[in-house]
Amino acid sequence: MIYFDNSATTKIDDSVLQTYVKVSQSFFGNPSSLHRVGEQANTILQQSRQQIADLMHVLPEEIYFTSGGTEGDNWIIKGTAMEKAPFGKHIITSQIEHPAVINSMKQLERLGFEITYLPVDHAGFVNPKTLAQAIRPDTILVSIMAVNNEIGAIQPIHEIAHVLADYPSIHFHVDAVQAIGKNLDQLLHEPRIDFLTFSGHKFHAPRGIGFVYAKKHRLLQPYMTGGGQEKDMRSGTENTPAIAAMARALRLVKTDEAKKAAAQAAIKKYLVTEISKMPNIRIFSQMNDQFAPHILCFSILGVRGETIVHAFEDKDIYISTTSACSSKKGEESSTLKAMGTPKTIAESAVRVSLDEHNTMAEARDFVAAFHEIYHHFEKLYA
């Protein structure tokens, strides 16, 4: 079995699972409880927060736990909108954001906010100059993803930050869900970034847990209210076992990060080289440092993406159409559409996404399978 769908979700690491189980058994208390069982759970919670903050080179009070990437995106976007509505109701984002961002924006539109969805060029990049032109006196938020989940394009975060340097009151949010563990710290440590969203299950932590970085003194309205957990910013009994597990997963993914990212890039490079040898192939994820090392999006022209995915599945290889969210309904990719890719080509796109456990041997098997599938359809469509 070859699992090349790590951008959809990753397999939990064994030792991370052990942490989850151990904390569930030994430190199951409610961290808000004032007795020892609660205090022990609270200690684990705060230690995990400290570990995550250290690994991200931020302060522990800048880390908030959420139920995942979707909640993080929703919270930061709507929380900013509610907090800053008195100052303006204009928001800038891009056409290639994850649905968690796009649909939060759509909801805000119905509440009277005005959203500018920046276009991207043919390669999938937002143009910082276009962004600069879109800024208005009433702009309160700019939300641009770090790594696109469909083609892996790394957005020009530093350049955007440079533009925003002149507008210190605008909140700058970056969805970094696909950027973790890919040796992109230099990007994520951009000091102008105010908010970052992360999701545990994309880096071998459990599902249903994630975290948000919120720069100190940057204000947001809470999104989940109630018992006042997370300094009254995110209520709900804390998921201590999953949080401790996520802290461990983050440490593991950050260990030898550069080396692991290079290995994924090497696999991707091999795949690109082999696949592009064939005619009628379109590669959307290039082999340069403007693309993440783990995502490879390509088309076999004329064959629908789902068909390719199922053909690989028959060979026990798991890839996806461009993203898990769009794959179920067989919709064309929103990113490719925004890039101006013709519909027929966009519909034939598939995504291979790697993690640090994938090997060159798997890549060779993949290429062998690719050739078989390719020739099968070549005959069919000849």
Binding site: N30, S32, V37, Y318, C325, K328
Partner: protein, 390 residues
């Protein structure tokens, strides 16, 4: 030192079966249920089966169950989104003074947006009067949110009666069943409930997972937007292992087990009151000992002994109990529930503890607890007396 956990209303340890189920899910299955490939489909099958088990447990239809990150999210979604979706029909909401903060803070937010909320008072046993509810109901009421059972005293609210009264009314009926689920039989059809919140970690399931039941056809706006998971009503990659763990926890509590727990916990309450009586302790029960109420929560007024003294004392002796609810995160603020029952100056507000039982609690543990409680109360009162005397 032995540790005895009597704070199950705050959270419960996961059942071993639940841990086993989750471990299995996490170790062998890593499909994103939205993916179309084999792993994705397997994940979807687990999701569907879990949803079915859970829907059955409250007599709902499968697609009326929306998985959320827990009780707080369910409450926030149900209350805020229902009010926003229905504001054209009116801006009046009815609730009670003794709801969980997840409900009260959601209502406070709505008040800041111009909604009007009537908070029904409670009597000294923490129950609301149906007459008060009837009097509060108006043609422009759009939402009624009343908890099924209270987390500090176990008081059970007249949900079925309210549901019946709302039969021919436009108001949407939400109940926070976070404490009641797993102890009371729930039939959303019979009780005419439109929205219902639960949280898995209160019934020996995992944390950060719960569900919101939303009746078919309800005007419903999602809170968490994004991908199309949960029929577009709750976005985010589905937390399959936690959902499977939740379903496992639910299967461990069938009708018989639920009734068994209520009667087992009732015996625990009697065991404690008998011990206190026998020792001549001056105490009161905040709430009732009636079998109608939730039996896992017991709120005791120990006259003359400050809450924090007792709590610390018992903690040092190895007993985890609570001063009020855990959910006013780590704070020692006076309980809004006891205040609603007695007024803010009443001694009960400063001299009460909450004890809550769980599936793992044994009569021996309760006996040890009673003994320690009596000892702690007596030694504090003796010291006080000698201070006054000297």
């Amino acid at each position: 030192m032995e540790h005895i956990y009597l704070d199950n209303a705050a959270t419960t340890p996961m059942a071993p079966e639940v841990i086993a189920e989750m471990t299995d899910q996490m170790a062998h299955d890593f499909g994103n249920a939205s993916s179309t490939h084999y792993f994705g489909r397997t994940a979807r099958a687990v999701l569907d089966e879990s949803r079915h088990i859970i829907a059955q447990s409250i007599h709902a239809k499968d697609d009326e169950i929306i998985f959320t990150s827990g009780g707080s999210e369910s409450d926030n979604t149900a209350i805020v989104q229902t009010a926003l979706a229905n504001q054209a029909k009116g801006k009046h909401i009815i609730s009670t003074q003794v709801e969980h903060p997840a409900v009260l803070k959601s209502l406070a937010y709505l008040e800041s947006l111009g909604f009007e909320v009537t908070y029904l008072p409670v009597d000294k046993t923490n129950h609301i009067a149906l007459a008060d509810f009837k009097a509060a109901l108006r043609p422009d009421t759009i939402l009624v949110t009343v908890m099924m059972g209270n987390n500090e005293t176990g008081a059970r609210m007249p949900i079925q009666e309210i549901g019946a009264l709302l039969q021919n009314h436009q108001a949407v009926f939400h109940t926070d069943a976070v404490q009641a689920y797993g102890l009371l039989p729930i039939d959303v059809e019979k009780m005419h409930i439109d929205l219902l919140s639960t949280s898995a970690h209160k019934i020996n399931g995992p944390k950060f997972i719960g569900f919101l039941y939303a009746r078919t056809g309800l005007n419903f706006m999602p809170l968490v937007k994004g991908g199309e998971q949960e029929h577009k009503r709750r976005a985010g990659t589905e937390n399959i292992p936690a959902i499977a763990g939740f379903a496992k926890a639910v299967t461990l509590i069938d009708d018989t087990e639920r009734a068994n727990r209520q009667s087992k916990y009732h015996q625990f309450k009697l065991q404690i009151t008998q011990a206190l009586d026998a020792a001549g302790i001056d105490y009161g029960i905040n709430g009732t000992l009636a079998t109608d109420d939730l039996q896992h929560v017991m709120n005791i007024w120990l006259k003359g002994v400050p809450t924090n003294v007792l709590q610390m004392n018992l903690d040092l002796a190895g007993f985890a109990i609570s001063g009020g609810s855990a959910c006013t995160a780590g704070s020692l603020e006076p309980s809004h529930v006891l205040t609603a029952m007695y007024g803010s100056d009443a001694p009960q507000v400063a001299e009460s503890i909450r004890v809550s039982f769980g599936a793992q609690t044994t009569p021996e543990e309760v006996a040890k607890f009673s003994e320690q409680l009596i000892q702690s109360v007596k030694s504090y009162l003796t010291k006080q007396k000698s201070k006054i005397g000297g």
